[in-house]
Amino acid sequence: MLRTFAYVRPGSVGEALEQLEERGARVHAGGTDLLGCLRDGVFEASKVVSLSRIGELRGITAAPDGELRIGAMATIAALAAHPAVKERFTALSDAASVVASPQLRNQGTLGGNLCQRPRCWYYRGGYDCVRKGGETCYAIGGENQYHAIFGGGACWIVHPSDTAPALMALDARVRLVGPKGARVLPLEKFYLLPDDDATKETVLEPGEIVLGVQVPPPAKGTRSAYRKVRARGSWDFAMAGLAWAIAMDDGRVADARLVLSGVAPAPWRLHAVEKLLIRQRLDAKTVARAAAAAVVGAKPLEQNAYKVPLVRGLVEDALGAASRA
């Protein structure tokens, strides 16, 4: 049951930033994650600052130069259905269409999806874990079938977002604004690993919010997609997923970006695979080498070694699809 908090709906970004100066203030975008966290006591809020009245945070625009601009308050459902996104930024529309459930997609926003807290059942449950400032990561010696095989350390959460890996594969940048001013970062630089800070997933400073995302026009010959594997058909997070954007030129890979979901505390970019693919034909031998390279360095816990063949399978599947272009 929710505890008492103040609720404000500022009309501009400036007002919102002022409201967020209060310690204990929390941002409310779609609320699908915030309300659950408050109800379950994952964290508390003395004040909830809604962004719903701020017009400039809405909207999905395909600019004349081909750049895609998405406001932080654009809903996941709108993103999934947007014609330009479907046509030219397929990985993003694929990812948006498999987020959660229809109800949650109608309510949830892109900003919220990028900033959501992890779904680790120890973090969400009554456990004083590392991410909540405690000493222990209970996943290491506990039930870790859904946890990370890459990038763990002090904490083994997986990042829950589907849209983040898709945007990262599409080379997106994220626009932030906070008490110290505005900044634009490649999405890759937006996320942290436990080695950086095990108590937060993003570089957002106190009082800082996401304004939106911009995605550059894809190079000629680029195709992109996102494939998510989950335990049930809807309303579930990825056991593993793969977003990819591959540009082909004369039957050879001109550019490739592959980013995994569900396997690491942040969207997990497969740099080694990308490097290996450049200027190659996507024949069986290359696909096999790429699949093997994708799992180099994986450190499975007791119950999640299945994610290793799963990642290999996803990479094989994706490159197979890309080769049929």
Binding site: T4, W121, G142, D236, R312
Partner: protein, 777 residues
């Protein structure tokens, strides 16, 4: 297990007086209303929101209650300080152990041991410690959080292996392991295996499932002087009445339990909850009505589960497929309080197929986890998972078709009940007609496509140990002079459409439209005694009593009309509100024109459920067929189509029959593919206490292509010939899918649910044979 010792009823059942034999009606021939796919009589109320469920009840001055539960797997409550909570705004009452009225002995689960309402020895995360009533639910929860409890945390064991260790923390005096029950034995399994041409052995595991009905567990309680009324989400209002009366030492007559609408139970709402007693105590203390519903998390922790089982099964067969021996060892835990973690697990192994030599041994241990409750066909889906997977493996080993292997071993008599014949068995027809309608032979012979996405088909059969129903049941049918009628019975409608098929039976016998029949039920103040709705027995128990009550009214009416028309009653028939002479159709009378009836105002007919025939066993049977697609790169399984053939005797409503089967199949898909309670061994807490982490199947997990076939062998064990359906529908689903996965991939997944994780693990452990089509295990 005797049929009269099923989980929904303890001890011998009283035999109620049946109709005199000369009045026992003939089985129906052609029916006009019964069996037809009519829409539920309460469909509009349910979908429009006008149906009042117990959790919808709002009374003037009603308080809201919230329960403080133990956050530890195992702890002693040393001190509960409620002083701060009691002073908080809106708080009207707080109850904890030691306060007047709270010393209520509590018996949680069958075969368990006694504790009390707020027992200071908390045996699992979720045991109740205190309860608060306040003006709003938010105030109640704020107060619950303000209660200061000092716990002495004890070591815990949440797995059966941990609980069976000699140094395991004890949940009660005498240890966690109850005295072993005598194994079931017939014939001589050692001799049987010696005589077998083929012997296969495999260990299977099944998930612990949480019921998670849509409506949470709880009630609203209100006192009027010495009389208590409880609106409760329950499968049996009379069980609530007796449970609450017993706990509070009240006369039965002073406890009224009401629950005509309820949002699902699946076995978890058969027993009286602590919430009813707590709400009644709070309402008495405050002099105001109290609403107490558990939260979803509390329901996940405390309101029951289907125990996880590990079943080692060995089968011996002749080369021609004749079974000669079956031997099983099953282990499980009922959690805290409930001793039996293996109930019903071996029933199919003992009963489904003809086999002269059978031995089944079960063992359980208490653990610091939520106690089990009956869950849709207790034990049977677990047993089916093992038996029907191993039958499939046996068919592969023998090079036999899995349908043929099963047909080879269909019994005509109940081997666990002294060999008495089944009143009817449609098992063979379910297999044969199901296979034909499914296109089994063709699908089975299809050549695999050269792709990493493999297709296959599988079959599994099942039966349910209950489903015959029996006494006691009383139904009353009232006929009004305008020909309209009222049906009055105590049974609940737990989702299977009790009101609708009840009204259909009355409409059939009294020849009156469904729109002129009202139904009142599930209210101990105004309706007749009924046992809780469980064991797939509501239809076979209540339907014959309803038919008898309708016929009783009709007999009275026709005899009055006979006197008036001066013809023998046997010459008269009731047709569309008129009484007509069969010999001379000109002689007729409107129902309202029967003078003797008019003077009485209403005719009351009473019907009782008579006993089932001696020397016969009555059970429902079924066979299910699945087609699946398996992505061998990712471990994903998609169920493409599903066919269910069920012998549940006569179908009372074809549409509800289909829907109930498909509901059972969807639940079976959960058991087979997605659902699993996960406990953390480190702190002994439940990790899947919400509907995201506990993964029930969604619409996308059930195939759109679902077919249901009714096999009716015209049973006459009761006057409607209808056997139970709710439980049989979910029993063979998961192994049918697993067998299809084997056919598709050559991979035998022995651990349910078959999540992508388990499929990939199984693939990593075993280099699969090229295909299951001709492969060996």
């Amino acid at each position: 297990m005797d049929d009269k010792e099923l989980y929904f009823w303890r001890g011998p059942l009283p035999e109620t007086q049946a109709l005199p034999p000369d009045a026992a009606p003939e089985p129906w021939g052609e029916t006009r209303v019964v069996g037809k796919p009519v829409t539920r009589v309460d469909a509009y109320d349910r979908v429009s929101g006008s149906a009042i469920y117990p959790s919808d009840v709002i009374l003037p001055d009603m308080l809201h209650a919230a329960v403080l539960t133990c956050p530890h797997a195992h702890a002693l409550v040393k001190k509960v300080d409620t002083a701060g909570a009691e002073k908080m705004p809106g708080v009207r009452a707080v109850l904890k152990d030691g306060m007047p009225g709270t010393n209520v002995p509590w018996f949680q689960g069958r075969g368990g041991f006694s504790s009390r309402l707020f027992d200071p020895h908390c045996r699992y995360e979720g045991d109740e410690v205190a309860v608060v009533a306040a003006d709003t639910i938010y105030q109640a929860w704020d107060a619950v959080r303000a209660i200061d409890v000092e716990y002495e945390v004890l070591p815990h064991a949440v797995t059966v292996e941990d609980a069976m260790k000699p140094d395991a923390p004890g949940l009660r005096d005498g240890g966690n392991v109850p005295p072993a029950a005598k194994p079931y034995e017939r014939g001589n399994v050692a001799e049987g295996f010696k005589a077998a041409d083929v012997v296969l052995e495999q260990t299977y595991t099944t998930p612990c499932e949480l019921h998670n009905p849509m409506e949470l567990h709880g009630c609203v309680a209100k006192w009027d002087g010495p009389r208590l009324t409880v609106w409760e989400s329950t499968q049996g209002v009379y069980a609530v009445q007796s449970g609450v009366a017993n706990a509070l030492k009240l006369p039965l007559a002073n406890v009224r339990a009401i629950g005509p609408y309820m949002g699902g139970g699946f076995g978890s709402k058969l027993e009286t909850g602590k919430y009813s007693v707590m709400a009644a105590l709070l309402a008495r203390k405050t002099g105001r009505p109290v609403r107490l519903f558990y939260t979803r998390e509390q329901v996940c922790r405390s309101m029951g589960n289907r125990p996880a089982n590990t079943i080692s099964l060995k089968v011996g067969a002749k080369r021609d497929g004749t079974l000669v021996a079956l031997e099983s060892r099953a282990v499980g835990t009922g959690g805290a309080y409930a001793e039996d973690g293996t109930g019903g697990v071996d029933y199919l192994i003992r009963e489904l197929y003809t086999c002269p030599n059978v031995r089944c041994e079960n063992s359980s241990a208490l653990t610091n986890a939520g106690p089990q409750r009956a869950f849709r066909a207790p034990g049977h889906p677990q047993g089916a998972w093992a038996l029907e997977s191993l039958m499939d493996a046996l068919a592969a080993r023998l090079g036999m078709d899995p349908v043929e292997l099963r047909l080879k071993n269909v019994p005509a008599a109940s081997q666990t009940r002294n060999g008495v014949p089944y009143s009817t068995t449609g098992l063979a027809d379910c297999l044969r007609e199901g296979a034909t309608a499914f296109g089994w032979a063709e699908a089975r012979g299809r050549r695999p496509a050269p792709s990493h996405i493999k297709r296959g088909v599988g079959v599994a059969a099942g039966m349910w140990q209950g489903g015959a129903g029996g006494p006691p049941s009383t139904a009353i049918v009232k006929l009004f002079p305008d020909g309209s009628a009222n049906l009055n019975m105590g049974a609940s409608d737990i989702g299977c459409g009790t009101k609708t098929w009840g009204a259909q039976i009355v409409a059939e016998e009294l020849h009156v439209g469904l729109d002129r029949i009202s139904v009142e039920h599930a209210d101990t103040g105004t309706t007749q005694f009924a046992t809780p709705s469980g064991g797939s027995k509501t239809v076979p128990t209540e339907s014959p009593a309803i038919r008898s009550a309708a016929l009783d009214v009709k007999r009275q009416l026709l005899s009055m009309a006979a006197e008036q028309l001066k013809v023998p009653a046997a010459d008269l028939d009731l047709r569309g509100g008129e009484i007509v002479s069969k010999a001379d159709p000109a002689k007729k009378l409107g129902v309202g024109q029967v003078q003797a009836f008019g003077r009485r105002g209403v005719l009351v007919g009473v019907g009782y459920r008579g006993p089932n025939p001696q020397g016969k066993a009555t059970n429902p049977f079924g066979a299910q067929f699945a087609e699946v697609e398996v992505d061998t790169k990712t471990g994903e399984i998609r169920v493409l189509r599903f066919l269910s053939a069920h012998d549940s005797g006569r179908v009372l409503n074809e549409k509800m029959f289909r829907n109930q089967v498909n509901g059972g199949v969807t639940m079976g898909i959960g058991f087979g593919l997605t659902e699993e309670r996960v406990m953390d061994r480190q702190l002994g807490k439940l990790l899947t206490a919400n509907l995201h982490d506990y993964k029930m199947p969604t619409a996308l997990d059930a195939p759109a292509d679902k077919t249901v076939i009714a096999i009716d062998p015209h049973d006459t064990f009761c006057n409607t010939g209808a056997k139970g359906l709710g439980e049989p529908a979910t029993i063979p689903t998961a192994p049918a899918i697993a067998n299809a996965v084997f056919h598709a991939t050559g991979l035998r997944v022995t651990d349910a649910p078959m999540s992508p994780a388990r499929v990939l693990r199984a693939m990593a452990a075993l280099k699969p044979a090229p295909a299951g089509r001709k492969g060996e295990e």
